[in-house]
Symmetry: C2
Subunit: 495 residues, 2 copies
């Protein structure tokens, strides 16, 4: 069944997944709150990410950096000068718009994101102010970093920035981390947390927010060994649609190929870059996003961020808005470390058997809300008879189990409480006693609860309960004493 954005937005609010901030004050564009169900799914998603990319690896170290850093960081990094959008102003009503968005909304394809090219397209297609039809100005710079003031004086000397990425903290702490990593290469630093971007027009539900979370790894490699990745065999067989910049420019469709073949064809800036694209795809696949719904798109030269040599977006196909970026994997080279060396006068290199190596850096960077959005979209299932359920992996489900007395009276309720108490020590679960059993199942399905545990008449006789499976509605009967073990096995075997 088709799925609409409206259905998803409505479910997310009604069932406490995610909804606009400050709604009793008319909301606040670009800011969202996770509700009691969403907060659990978000936690599970980030825990999984942390486990996969940090705890299960020997080469990635965690970091939880402050949002506000010394403002010199953002001068050195180039963000004060170059972290910008090109905006146009209506000469009549003075409305402000992002030039690229205005064009894309009209279905005009952009192959060059320079201000000159954007201006040319606006004129060619006679694009005018969407609100009053007025003439538009030439594109001008708009810096996306939000500012604040630290200390009692509010002037130029006390400006600080709300970070637009966590990456800079990894570069600024690089020297410390070289010692934590005991002077070896390669190693990575991983962080996640809130970032802020002063978007002119936030849009697409949680797709483009002003406050959001990113999860990033800065993976530092020896540039002399950029094609020497010992883990490449873990990912080289993964097959995915890859859309190189050449193919895009020729107007051709993405090509399905393996990461290994693409690397051999020279698609990636180096082997580690290919590896991190592959590893990202592996994780997406584990968390339940079909590779069929993902594609890897290379940035055009004019799209590249100021620090990037080459970037790939992993895009997810949202049925209601098409292919959209949920992760970017950039090769930042030694751009950042070199700039910080220059500005801070610190020596940022790794001593490697006589060489002083300034590493290059591959950066996989996930939008947490976007990944969350893709997970929910992928999980949203509507059957032909109108049943709605979230087909979430148990490791992402807000609750592993709902516990239900068949009838809302004693002795069913007391027995259900016992079972609930037993399960709670091991799994996220809740007790639901109100409404018909069918309604309770339906409520649980809508938020993706993995298993329904029902206490029925037979329970009172032989201490067995039924386990109902969300996706198939099939039921099995197990002894209460075997329940924890059975659920553990079901989770372990999940595919």
């Amino acid at each position: 069944m088709t799925i609409t954005l409206e259905e998803l937005v409505s479910l997310c609010k009604r069932r406490g997944i995610i909804f606009p901030s400050s709604e009793i004050y008319g909301g606040f564009a670009g800011f969202f709150d996770y509700g009691p169900v969403g907060v659990e799914i978000r936690k599970n998603l980030l825990d999984w990410w942390w486990d996969f990319f940090v705890r299960q690896r020997d080469d990635v170290l965690g970091l939880y950096p402050a949002i506000i850093m010394n403002p010199r960081v953002w001068i050195a990094s180039g963000h004060v000068e170059r972290f910008i959008d090109w905006i146009v102003e209506c000469k009549n009503c003075h409305g402000l718009y992002r030039a690229d968005e205005l064009l894309e909304e009209k279905g005009i394809k952009i192959t060059d994101y320079s201000p000159e090219a954007l201006s040319k397209l606006i004129k060619e297609h006679n694009v005018r102010c969407p609100s009053c039809g007025g003439e538009l100005s030439e594109p001008r710079k708009f810096n996306l970093m939000m500012e604040t003031y630290i200390g009692p004086i509010k002037d130029e000397t006390s400006i600080a920035y709300l970070r637009p990425e966590t990456a800079q903290a990894m570069f600024v702490n690089f020297k410390l981390y070289v010692t934590y990593a005991r002077n070896r290469l390669p190693f990575g630093i991983a962080a996640f947390g809130k970032v802020f971007r002063n978007e002119i027009s936030p849009r697409g539900f949680i797709f483009r927010c002003r406050e959001f979370e990113i999860a990033e790894i800065e993976y530092f490699i020896d540039p002399e060994r950029a094609n020497d990745c010992p883990y490449f065999h873990e990912v080289d067989k993964i097959i995915v649609k890859i859309w190189t910049k050449e193919t895009q420019k020729k107007g051709e469709e993405p090509k399905e190929m393996s990461i290994g073949d693409a690397y051999n064809d020279g698609v990636f800036s180096n082997m580690w870059h290919a590896y991190w694209v592959g590893k990202s795809l592996e994780w997406f696949s584990q968390i339940g996003i079909s590779l069929e719904h993902l594609r890897v798109r290379e940035h055009l030269e004019t799209e590249l961020a100021h620090y990037a040599l080459q970037t790939f977006d992993i895009e997810y196909y949202f049925p209601f808005m098409g292919w959209k970026e949920i992760e970017g994997i950039a090769n930042r080279t030694d751009y950042d470390l070199k700039h910080h060396m220059k500005f801070s006068k610190e020596k940022l290199y790794v001593p490697l058997s006589g060489r002083k190596v300034i590493p290059h850096c591959i950066e996989p960077s996930w939008g947490v809300e976007r990944t969350f959005f893709a997970v929910i979209t992928e999980a949203y299932t509507k059957t032909s008879d109108g049943r709605v359920f979230l087909k979430l992996h148990p490791k992402l489900a807000p609750y592993i189990a709902g516990v239900y007395p068949l009838l809302s009276r004693e002795p069913f309720i007391t027995k259900a409480r016992e079972v609930h108490k037993l399960l709670k020590k091991k799994f996220t679960c809740y007790l639901d006693v109100s409404g018909s059993i069918g309604r309770r199942y339906a409520r649980a399905d809508e938020i993706g609860v993995s298993f329904g545990i029902t206490i029925d008449h037979q329970t009172l006789e032989d201490d067995t309960v039924t386990i109902r499976f969300r996706d198939t509605r099939e039921q099995i009967r197990v002894k209460i004493s075997d329940l924890v073990k059975t659920i553990e096995e079901l989770i372990e075997k999940w595919e």
Copy 2:
């Protein structure tokens, strides 16, 4: 052995626990980053908090709200007008200081925090500018909220605030949560996340930061049933030092008493307030903070925040800086909901069998960095022979296990890798092959690794390894096939 702040700060940086932000740019006062070890301890601490106060309860719902909210929230809440410190300016060098801090630094006791009383004390004790000795101005208001601008225009109309607490999100989302809680009372909302306070003088390592994290619960109760707490028996026997405002004013010491007796003596504004003080103490005790090192101090009338009827601080005894607040438990009454009703025109009540109840609110609010600081301080142990270890509960330890080949060569290394791979599926752990085994144990002890698993000569013969206990340095020998189960049991039985 005595412990100094310097030792702790040094350990925290050297071993990647927590350190000042942006150090290569000279740091940035009041901002800190958690390193690879600290990030794990912080995660374990917050996971435990979430499990104890949200997942294991049936009456508390989670929330993960945006940091930036509609600015009208902060007008309605009273923060724009009243979330202030009283600061004094030096008439000579124009240095700015918090009046209360200047007095406290001189050892002058404050029993009235009003600007008039602060001014009087400054004059009485002839307190002068600590930097140049100049005369100080009368105290004036300084708002602690940091500001930013949203959207392309930077003026009064686009100001927004970085939240100084998460609580307001709970009040603003109250209406939604009444439906999620299915119109019942009591229920709580729990959230944690970054907050920002523009402190004039951040100090005490991570004790007073400008950016920090809080973990809060807003627990909504029916004011007609404020003394009807069905869980009170869980906490009433807890004995702790309680320092009421009367005792403080009389210059007497705190009295040791049970939560139950204190409630009966009328110490708390109501039974739910007493319960949440007790429940907080129970959690602190579980995470390894001795009740001996905690005391409950009531706020004086002049100290109370503008929204509070009565507040208790839970203070921890830091050996190097004395008793300091790590959690506050306030009775906010219906102050916030009533203000938001007035400003938003929304109806914020719970329909309860014919009554429209505007609940009162008890708010336990933890400083995450402060709790983290107390945990590390409490765990820091130095034996008479100079050995240093962090006596952390395994549920807080950055790693459950370190895996060590006795000798850094084959076949020990390969065997150690196997054991590491086996453990990694279940526990946080790492492999350390370099340096003498004694040095590897010492490194692990310093960051609180729970168990050391050593692969020695006997391992190669009979597939057994030794488990070394951090706190006692005792060792036991177990079969590799029993290792996971043994460690699981050791964690379960930990006290």
